[in-house]
């Protein structure tokens, strides 16, 4: 497009937005005092803002198109990202791992406890994202009620700790197990629903769990929640708040590593292949002898298991749970992590969680514009990179004719 034409379109666009935002941005009424305030200056801001944003968006799009045009046919395959290229090179990978582990291990030492605390939250969402990734990314089941299993884990710990003084480590497997059990219970009736129907049923299930926690006061103490939950213990030593945060941080690092390890192994297994096949073509999958129901159920309950585990960590971290923490928005955020990172990609989920959890925290500088910016960034990221940050390059089985088999 020629420069002049772009400017003209930008002008038209900004005019359209001036019209669009007219009632809400310009007029403010006080219906009781019967006063109207006309804020014409806002129109000017809108006009200027849209004009600039439009030009910027065009610039990015043009570049993207040019890049696409310059690519040859063979490039049309998902290209390996920098991350994958680094991971593929053993020397670079080792260097990266050493550097990264140094930073990760030293992080609490040079950060305030706020930074560490936020990082713990981000790590929790990494694991949640990896768990949901099994369900959505690998098995292709759209789950909008993932938060329900998270709540099951959190309340298992809260209640068992409150009534029976059970410790963190004792409840960890119980919380995970209960969540997985809930996953199976829900999965049985609903897994034969397809795509979006499954989505709404899981959404409904998430809401049902929250509402029960809210209303069944005898069981869950209702909206007042359960407070004074013990932090995770370290061989019976009572930790101060700061050291508890640091302890939890290293614990989460451990969880993340274990989760990555397990998810990785699952992905490369008979089960992982079945999930991917199921995601691609259910009918062909069944015709090849894969039990659709069982395979989906396993994905569902494994995902739930991780949500349960992190639920326990959540309760231990905040020392307080109430139903307000388990709303639909939470499920939406976890799903966004998976999609934004790049469905099915482990590295992608880690990036997605870091961005989506750290972003609102560091956007605090924008104060009241925080969530506005967050929403806009979500849209922009999807528009400019719909396949997610890291496109999923699955490791594939390689077979050499010499019968030397290696899994790359």
């Amino acid at each position: 497009m020629s420069g002049l034409k772009v400017i003209k379109k930008a002008l038209l666009t900004s005019l359209w937005f001036v019209f669009l935002t007219f009632p809400i941005m310009v007029i403010k009424v006080d219906p009781v005092e019967r006063i109207i305030r006309w804020r014409w200056q806002n129109s000017l801001y809108v006009a200027l803002g849209t004009f600039c944003v439009y030009l910027l968006a065009q610039f990015i799009l043009q570049r993207k198109i040019k890049k696409l045009e310059s690519q040859t046919e063979q490039d049309s395959l998902p290209k390996e990202s920098v991350i994958h290229r680094i991971l593929a090179n053993p020397k670079q990978r080792n260097l990266l791992i050493v550097a990264l582990s140094a930073v990760i291990l030293a992080f609490p030492l040079f950060s305030s406890s706020y930074q560490t605390n936020v990082m713990i939250t981000a790590l929790m969402y990494v694991v949640l994202g990896l768990g949901l990734n099994i369900v959505v990314g690998m098995a292709g089941l759209l789950d909008l009620g993932y938060v329900a299993f998270y709540a099951v884990g959190a309340y298992s710990y809260a209640l068992l700790n409150h009534h029976f003084q059970l410790g963190f480590w004792a409840v960890l497997p119980i919380g995970g197990g209960l969540a997985a059990l809930f996953g199976i219970l829900l999965g049985f009736p609903v897994l034969r629903l397809r795509g979006d129907y499954l989505a709404i049923v899981t959404l409904g299930f998430g809401e049902i769990i929250r509402l029960i926690l809210e209303n069944w006061s005898e069981f869950s103490k209702g909206p007042s929640g359960i407070s004074n939950i013990s932090r995770p213990g370290l061989f019976g030593i009572e930790l101060s708040l700061d050291s508890a945060i640091i302890y939890l941080y290293y614990l989460m690092i451990l969880f993340v590593i274990v989760t990555i390890f397990i998810v990785n192994r699952l992905q490369d297994s008979r089960l992982g292949r079945a999930w991917i096949a199921l995601r691609e073509d259910e009918i062909a999958c069944q015709a090849m002898g894969i039990d659709k129901r069982k395979t989906k159920l396993v994905a569902f309950s494994l995902g739930a298991f991780w949500a349960g585990i992190i639920g326990v960590v959540f309760a231990a971290k905040t020392t307080f749970v109430n139903p307000a923490s388990f709303t639909f928005l939470e499920s939406a955020i976890i799903l966004s992590i998976v999609v934004l990172g790049g469905m099915g990609s482990i590295v992608g989920v880690i990036f997605g969680a870091m961005i989506l959890i750290l972003l609102p925290e560091y956007l605090r500088a924008l104060s009241e514009y925080r969530m506005l910016a967050f929403g806009a960034i979500l849209v922009a990221m999807m528009v400019f990179r719909p396949q997610g940050l890291i496109s999923n390059i699955r490791r594939t089985y390689r077979f050499e004719k010499t019968h030397s088999l290696n899994v790359k």
Partner: protein, 300 residues
């Protein structure tokens, strides 16, 4: 028996309210298979626009009828404009993207629009002017069906008829149906698919705007967050009825409204949503494509 009738009318009023929003969901889903999570926000913007216009006009001393009509028209115009723009910004570039990307984009849009109205207007609840007066002739039954209930029911019925007419008999409607069935095929027979998608968003948004006006006037208050719950419920209703089906959306909404009303009346309002969602799960288990949804035949 009186109690039953009272609950019945509460239920269908609520259902009619859901229906106005659910229609937009179902139309958009039918055409592009997208759960448009920002639709609840379009409804909220409709309510806000009509609130602003109605208040301005009443301060300038316009007569009630003029206020109702003008604020309704304004709500429809601006909601449609928002719906159109949202589609162009957040969904159109994602037409060939992986299936879940537009969903995340929609969630982002929804968060954005909520906070946009929060910042540009207020976080507080605002009193919505009473646009539907108490009709004297309704007085004997007012304890069962109020004037605003009546207007909501009538409007929903009329809109439903008009919409059915448009979809069944007009050129646009036929093009919409064709696009819904097979987008590539529709394109091949010369339908401008992008245009049809825009039209769908515009019609859906206009319905949401009318819903916004009626509901806000019925309840008497608005704030920036009203779209969220209404949106979720309407979406549930649309799926219950069989997403993509227009009579289905209305039926699903009525069923949902009645369930909630009777659950409140005969069991407990603590669990009205539990009942609503349980009903949804049950119906989908026995009828996986909703009440009026077309059963999908597996093509092998």
């Amino acid at each position: 028996m009186d109690y039953f009738i009272e609950l019945f009318f509460s239920g269908i009023t609520r259902g009619a309210i859901y229906a106005l929003i659910a229609l937009g969901y179902t139309m958009v889903y039918g055409i592009i298979g997208l759960i448009n999570f920002a639709h609840g926000e379009i409804y909220m913007i409709g309510a806000f626009t009509s609130f602003i216009v109605a208040t301005v006009l009443s301060i300038y001393g316009f007569p009630l009828l003029a206020i109702v009509l003008l604020s309704g028209v304004a709500a429809v115009i601006w909601s449609s404009a928002y719906g159109y723009t949202v589609e162009k910004i957040a969904y159109k570039p994602l037409r060939h993207a992986p299936r879940l990307s537009p969903l995340i984009s929609a969630i982002g849009m929804s968060i954005f629009l909520q906070n946009y109205v929060l910042l540009a207007q207020t976080s507080d609840f605002l009193p919505f002017p009473e646009l539907i007066p108490d009709f004297p002739f309704m007085e004997p039954v007012a304890h069962i069906v109020g004037s605003s209930d009546l207007i909501i029911l009538i409007t929903t019925a009329i809109i439903m008829l008009i919409l059915t007419f448009i979809i069944k008999f007009t050129r646009v409607g036929k093009a919409m149906r064709a696009t819904a069935q097979d987008r590539t095929m529709a394109m091949l027979v010369g339908i401008n698919v992008n245009q049809i998608i825009s039209v769908t968003f515009i019609i859906g948004s206009a319905l949401a705007a009318i819903g916004g006006l009626l509901i806000a006037s019925h309840i008497g208050q608005i704030n920036f967050y009203i779209g969220f719950l209404a949106g979720i419920k309407a979406f549930t209703a649309a799926v219950l009825g069989g997403i993509g089906s227009i009579p289905g959306a209305v039926l699903g909404s009525l069923v949902l409204g009645l369930t909630e009303s009777f659950a409140t009346g005969y069991v407990s309002s603590d669990y009205e949503d539990v009942f609503a969602f349980s009903l949804l799960v049950l119906i989908l288990i026995f009828k996986p494509s909703g009440l009026l949804g077309k059963a999908e035949t597996k093509k092998v």
